[in-house]
Amino acid sequence: PSSETFFANETELEMAVTGVYNRLWYSTQGAVWFLSFDFASDDGWDRNGSALQALGRGEQNADNGYTNGFWSAFYRAINRVNFITSGSEELKAKMDPEKYNRLVGEARFLRAYFYAYLAELYGDVPLVITTLSLDEAQTPRTPKSEVIDFVLAELNEVKEYLPMNANDKGKVTKGTVLALISRVALWNERWQEAADAAKELMDSGAYQIDPNYSGMFTFSGNQSPEVIMRINYLRGVTTHNTPRDFLSRMSLGHSNKKPPQDFVDTFDCIDGLPIDKSPLYDTQHPFENRDPRMNYTLVVPGSRLVNWIFETHRDSTLTWEFRGDEKVRVPNIEAQHAYASFTGYLFRKHVDVADYPTNVGASEQSLTIFRLGEVLLNYAEAKVEMNEIDASVYEAINSIRTRESVNMPPIAEGKTQDELRNLIRKERRSELGMEGFRYFDIRRWKIAEDVIPGPVRGRVNRYGAGGWLNEPPIIDPMGTPSYDHISNASEMVVIETRAFNPSRDYLWPIPRIELETNKALTQNPGY
């Protein structure tokens, strides 16, 4: 059909809205888009010599393929929505208006979602909300605050068109809208709005904290009471290769994306104290007595991954394989492979071992993009920033920490605003690790300039050496470790050295080609 005659009936509208959801499948540099950001944060690293790796190092420019990719992918998605909102008006009279509003509401939600990310990454961006002709396309940048105004206004409007349906994890629901409002408002320091939306969702009772933390990131997440929305995949249409990216070589993965030592050390001990303060921390057994979320999020040496004990020290030429109840010694590829042991750690979150072996490279496991846990932390942070610290703040944080499978000690009441702010920031890193938040958090808190520059380190990994740090790193109140004082810090693997230019790197460059085609645009400072 041609663009002139489309939107003749309800089916065509449904298909067009499906076409917008389709854009959630955007993946870049081998990773699903929302997961990819954190590999340029202090939580991760992409080893592929890629444009994403360059971004992490602070070497991005206006031709960076990774950053430019989002601009075109998201505007592509936005235009699919504009095509619906600009073209389907007449259809409204011909079909059930409620259904029309719901369908178009889902599309408008997705447009707001993508605009929120564009504004966060690029700052001021052209706000295009109708289908434009080539001549009309010379659109200047709209101030970020106006873009956010639009996003929040849209979300508040479509909220009313969408049902609160906790069982539907694939479609946009009222829960998703509230979750996004809280996220966008928080990111833009509209604390009241963030807290209100979060509160509305919390009070609705539609979602509950899932006692099983890691279940939210496997196939069983489809039934999780906490999960609000997931990106769905289907073999034969589109799958993702997160298991291939994350898993070890023994388990048929390529371990392309790695967590640095830094991320490992941010997790507290089970007594709720950071590793430099906790008596439970043993430098020779650094992974014992740790916040269980470390193991749910990461694979650390000595832990089981699929059928093997994951070992990465260069001297560990053998490892254990589980065959039924038996444990056998087998050669350890992870230690021998040239690319096996960059940092000595792997990511585990989002990987379901059920994908081993045949679906490692093509998983149809849904990926969680909205869940109640984030909303609770959004609420707590907004309230703390407004200095409205009450029991509901502690309750929000502690309901996460004390869930059955995590069981960390609750935060005791009576903290100052500053203490709580730091606690929440650290909690976000532990709770929401590798869910695509860290990259945005360190930018909006303006701590990227502190946590990014310098060497990206892996474990101690020298032939014949012990394998562990002699002393624990010093952990700052936000959970950022520092290593310079440690006597054998020089034995840590350095995988690269990063830089961060605060006068430039808090915003991405507008694609250079866009400045050539749209003369009304201006570049961000420093590019």
């Binding site: 065509e12 396309a137 048929l252 690319y339």
Partner: protein, 1081 residues
């Protein structure tokens, strides 16, 4: 055709002047008149009933007289002309002949013999005339002739394309003659658009290539025979894979940013040149300038290649041509062994401040235990590649022709193996070209062409195989001692995938039917209609099987690739209709005004439809049929396209005395690819020539200058290869770019993805051409052309603001200028029995983008105003850093920099190397292309040597193709010439693990891709007559041939200079060594 009446008279015959007859009637019909004379005399009349109406009435004066007297009266009243031949009187309707002629009567002897060409093949149709008379004959299909020659007579043998032979008969009764090819090509007739022209009368730039230059070349793909043989025609071979080893043909450079392929016509039907077997080709004409190509209008902007296939001659003959031989890679990189790999990797690790990857102890153990499963030393290239691959070609053609019907059946078989497992190309061509002379005026031709080509390769693709065999370090296991596959690289294993990973088989069925009817109204007016449908029916079946690899213990299964076996099968059917009607007018007025006109109408349309099916999980992988797969996740696809083109065209030629030549062409094309209003466009051209050598004032130089012609032309051409319906905006329905899934169920989606531009119109290119053709001393042909081709309104997808969210539409936006010149020299001579020839050609084209509306793309290859298309774009490398001090004082680069790293020029001098410092660093477009062919013949031996080359071109390799330890890969022998403090002038930078500084796009990785190549050598021997008689064959020649024998180049070690811009993972170019046989019965 060549019809000369054999006349032989001797004393026993009386002349028509002597013989008296009586005829009573004053008015008499021709029939009665002939009968009356035949009754009274020994004469009989010979005439063609279809030409002469016997009931025509003639009036006679006088009742008695000589036969001559009566014939003269009849002749005056009609167009009839009479000639006495012995006792026969030949009657012709031809006003140009004398009214009556009588053959002289002399005693003579009968001479017989055979006429052959230099290779010993008989030549039918050679005219043999007794010098100074009209007596003569024509050789038959076996080259035999027989003729009565008067004593002391001299025979003149002549045939188009051969030098005249003059032989005194003396008292010989058998005279066998070897005709020598005409050393001046200017007498040739050349195939041009919708017709032929004498080469001397050409006013456009046309290169003609005859079958002699094509046959016996061991090339699977016909496009390769054009490499180096014609100036201005650049052929680049980017792969040596059987079936994919054809060349990209560029005529006079690259004229557009879109599709730059020339239009290829085989017998008037647009076809892929590689579908034709070289044995089938009679001639190739390359139309280079707008004047010669304009009659093809909208598809001619990139030049036109016209191929004419062989047709039958009179007589019966059978020929068999074959060759067989081996192919070996021209160059391949040398990759280090396991110990070197690990030692160098340790160096790379320590260079970046990390600990070595392999401990001393481990290396010592390795050295002691190597090679074994535990400590492998795998040469992946040797493991995966054979040393050589076999290749053979057979051609049988059967010629059967009479005056009325001629049929040529040609059968070709090509079988080409690859140097990696499961890689081959097989092609079977069948051709029946038939010509029927239905009546004197009506000729009908019907050609049938069938082709079956089977391309087999591993399902993973050959580039996968080459990629991995050059990437995996030697310390990974290839094949374990128990025969299982070692792990390779996370299961990626070139041998396993090539050998056991399943096959991708592409089977192409092609058929072209070509019906033509040609009617000659008179000798100056004819018409032709042609209907030539074409069917293309490819079938692709790709079964990807699982290959399992094992750990070094030989027992533990590790990676397996792919994760599911699967079968994809696709059928396509393409039907192309081609109808055309032509009218031809050719007449000479007053002997000097030659006027020609060709007018035509053509209509073409093509429908393409395809359907595909996919299933995965085949529990029994030996049963590779769709139904044997699991239905879960089965997938189908299918689509169809259609386009049409309607054209009228014409050509007018005028020349005065073959001295002043003029030509004009005009074509109007209407294409379905444009919106209403922009569909049709006109493509005119004008050209003129002046044959100065024909002027009276040049008479004094005629002993040197046989021919001298100046040409000039201007014309405008179009290009419609821009996709099918880019002017319309369509909603995409379904597919991975639109669908989504809710609750595990696929949900069909829809989206508008492309922006349309209703206003697009034809891309046009204007060419001016000045040329010169000369022939000196009758032996040296010289052709020179200078041209300028300006392509404007180039249809390209200019970047549009990405905020529109749509794929950019085509716009008429670009302008490209090509300026170039071409020289061709051809010298042929003979000293006694030694004949030799030298052909040399040289050409250059400068390509420049004039206008791109200011848009500047980035990437490794870019199109930018003021530079050539596809220029390389990167940092300007400035040697290596030699000291830490130098690093510190230089602009900041990428990551951790140390001495030995590549230094880049800070072009904008802002103290940092970033995208502002990128520049155009080179161009892959070949310049100064040349060819040099030497050939010689002595008695039965013939030798030809052909060099070909490119004087200037840049090549670029990246990634593991040339960068040491790229993304954890391995390293080549040449990289040992690396920077260290002791070797500051090394070719390659210091070794560094996983650092990006040295991997940036830069002039460092660009390499000079100019080359001189010994393209082919062929030594042949034709067996002499006595042996042939014993063997009862007409001709037998055997030869040895080598192709692509050696190359002189400064390009990267291990890679062919025609390398594609790539990471080295392509099927390498091949050298071919063959022996062959030509046999005629």
């Amino acid at each position: 055709l060549n019809f000369v009446l054999a006349t032989s008279a001797s004393g026993q015959y009386r002349s028509i002047e002597e013989v008296q007859v009586k005829i009573e009637q004053e008015s008499i019909t021709l029939g009665q008149f002939f009968k009356s004379i035949e009754r009274q005399t020994p004469f009989s009349f010979l005439y063609d009933n279809s030409l002469i109406n016997p009931s025509t009435v003639v009036h006679l004066q006088g009742k008695a007289g000589s036969v001559e007297n009566f014939l003269r009266q009849v002749s005056l009243q009609s167009n009839l002309r009479f000639r006495q031949v012995n006792n026969g009187i030949d009657v012709k309707e031809d006003p140009k002949l004398p009214f009556i002629s009588v053959s002289t009567q002399k005693d003579g002897i009968q001479v017989t013999g055979v006429v052959k060409d230099q290779s010993g093949a008989p030549i039918p149709g050679v005219t043999i005339i007794v010098q100074g008379t009209t007596q003569g004959t024509v050789s038959d299909v076996d080259g035999n002739y027989s003729l009565d020659v008067p004593v002391g007579g001299v025979l003149v043998f002549s045939f188009i394309g051969y030098e005249q032979q003059v032989i005194e008969v003396g008292n010989q009764s058998e005279i066998n003659v070897t005709m020598l090819e005409n050393l001046s090509a200017l007498e040739e007739v050349v195939v041009v658009g919708y017709g032929t022209q004498k080469k001397v009368n050409l006013t456009g730039a046309v290169s003609a290539i005859s079958s002699g230059q094509i046959v016996n070349q061991p090339v699977g793909q016909s496009s390769m025979v054009l490499q180096g043989v014609a100036p201005g025609v650049t052929v680049t071979q980017r792969s040596g894979q059987p079936g994919k080893d054809g060349g990209n043909i560029r005529i006079r450079g690259i004229g557009t940013l879109g599709d730059s392929n020339p239009l290829i016509m085989v017998d008037g039907v647009e076809t892929n040149m590689n579908n034709v077997d070289p044995n089938e080709i009679e001639s190739i004409s390359v139309l280079k300038d707008a004047a010669s190509a304009a009659i093809y209008g909208s598809r001619a902007a990139n030049g036109v290649v016209l191929i004419t296939t062989k047709r039958a001659k009179e007589g019966v003959s059978v020929s068999y041509n074959m060759y067989a031989g081996v192919q070996v890679p021209t160059r391949q990189p040398e990759i280090v062994g396991a110990m070197d790999h690990m030692l160098l990797a340790n160096e790379a690790f320590t260079n970046i401040g990390n600990d070595p990857q392999y401990s001393e102890q481990f290396l010592a153990d390795y050295q002691a235990g190597m090679p074994s499963d535990q400590y492998p030393d795998t040469d992946w290239q040797e493991l995966t590649m054979a040393n050589s691959a076999f290749m053979q070609s057979h051609n049988v053609s059967i010629n059967s022709g009479s005056e009325k019907a001629k049929i040529l059946g040609s059968f070709n078989y090509l079988d080409q193996d690859g140097i990696i497992p499961n890689t081959s190309f097989k092609r079977l061509n069948l051709r029946f070209n038939s010509d029927l002379q239905v009546t004197e005026k009506l000729k009908v031709s019907a050609d049938i062409f069938l082709r079956k080509a089977t391309q087999t390769e591993p399902s993973s693709g050959t580039s996968y195989v080459f990629h991995w065999m050059r990437r995996i370090p030697a310390n990974e296991v290839g094949v374990l001692s128990n025969g299982r596959y070692g792990e390779g690289w996370n299961g990626d294993h070139p041998l396993a995938r090539a050998q056991d990973g399943g096959l991708r088989v592409e089977e192409n069925l092609d058929a072209i039917l070509n019906f033509r009817a040609n009617y000659n109204f008179t000798d100056w007016l004819s018409a032709e209609v042609m209907y030539a449908p074409k069917l293309w029916n490819p079938h692709i079946k790709s079964f990807s099987n699982i290959t399992q690899t094992y750990a070094r213990d030989g027992e533990t299964p590790t990676f397996f690739v792919p994760q599911r076996n699967s079968l994809t099968e696709q059928y396509t059917r393409e039907w192309y209709n081609n109808f055309r009607a032509l009218i031809n007018f050719n007449k000479t007025f007053n002997d000097v005004h030659m006027v020609g006109f060709t007018g035509g109408y053509q209509q073409e349309d093509q429908t393409n439809q395809w359907i595909s099916a996919y299933r995965e999980v085949f529990p029994l992988p030996d049963y590779q049929q769709i139904n044997a797969g699991n239905r879960l996740n089965e997938q189908t696809g299918g689509s169809a396209t259609h386009w049409a083109l309607q054209s009228v065209f014409g050509r007018a030629t005028y020349n005065f005395d073959e001295r002043y030549l003029f030509e004009a062409n005009l074509r109007r094309d209407a294409s379905s690819r444009f919106a209403d209003g922009n569909r049709a466009s006109l493509f005119p051209s004008f050209s003129a020539g002046w044959r100065m050598s024909e002027e009276a004032f040049m008479a004094g130089t005629s002993n040197v200058i046989d021919e001298l012609k100046f040409r000039a032309s201007w014309g405008r051409l179009g290009n419609q290869n821009i996709g099918l319906y880019p002017y319309a905006a369509f909603i995409s329905l379904g597919g991975t770019a639109q669908d989504y899934t809710f609750d595990g169920v696929i949900s069909p989606g829809a989206a508008l993805n492309n922006m349309a531009n209703e206003d697009i119109k034809w891309e046009t290119s204007e060419t001016i051409d000045f040329g010169l053709d000369a022939n000196l001393w009758g032996k040296l042909d010289v052709t020179f052309d200078y041209y300028q081709r300006r392509t404007s309104d180039i249809l390209l997808t200019l970047n549009i603001p990405l905020t529109l969210g749509l794929t950019a539409p085509y716009q008429n936006a670009g302008e490209v200028l090509n300026t170039g010149y071409e020289i061709m020299l051809n010298y042929q001579n003979r000293i006694g029995e030694f004949s030799y020839g030298i052909m040399a050609n040289f050409s250059d084209v400068k390509n420049e983008i004039i206008d791109l509306k200011g848009i500047e793309n980035t990437g490794l290859t870019v199109n930018r105003e003021g530079h050539s298309i596809g220029s390389f774009f990167g940092y300007v490398a400035d040697g290596f850093f030699q000291s830490q001090e130098e690093v510190d004082n230089h602009a900041t680069q990428f990551g951790m920099i140390a001495p030995g790293d590549i230094k880049y020029k800070d072009l904008n001098e802002d103290g940092k190397i970033n995208d502002q410092d990128l520049a155009i660093i080179g161009s892959p477009i070949p310049r100064y292309t040349y060819g040099l062919k030497l050939n010689g013949g002595y008695k039965g031996f013939d030798l030809s040597i052909f060099f070909q080359g490119v004087g200037q071109a840049d090549g670029y390799l990246f990634g593991q193709g040339i960068m040491p330890f790229y993304l954890g890969g391995t390293i080549q022998e040449q990289h040992k010439d690396r920077w260290t403090p002791e070797t500051p002038n090394a070719r390659y930078p210091r070794l560094a693990w996983n650092q990006t500084n040295n991997q940036q796009n830069s002039s460092f990785w660009m390499s000079d891709a100019s080359y001189l190549r010994l393209q082919s050598v062929q030594l042949g021997y034709a067996f002499p007559e006595p042996i042939l008689k014993k063997l009862k064959v007409q001709n037998l020649r055997v030869y040895l041939s080598g192709r692509n024998l050696f190359t002189v180049t400064d390009f990267y070690e291990g890679y062919d200079p025609e390398a594609p811009v790539s990471d080295g993972g392509w099927y390498p170019q091949m050298s071919t060594y063959t022996m062959g046989l030509n046999l005629n019965f």
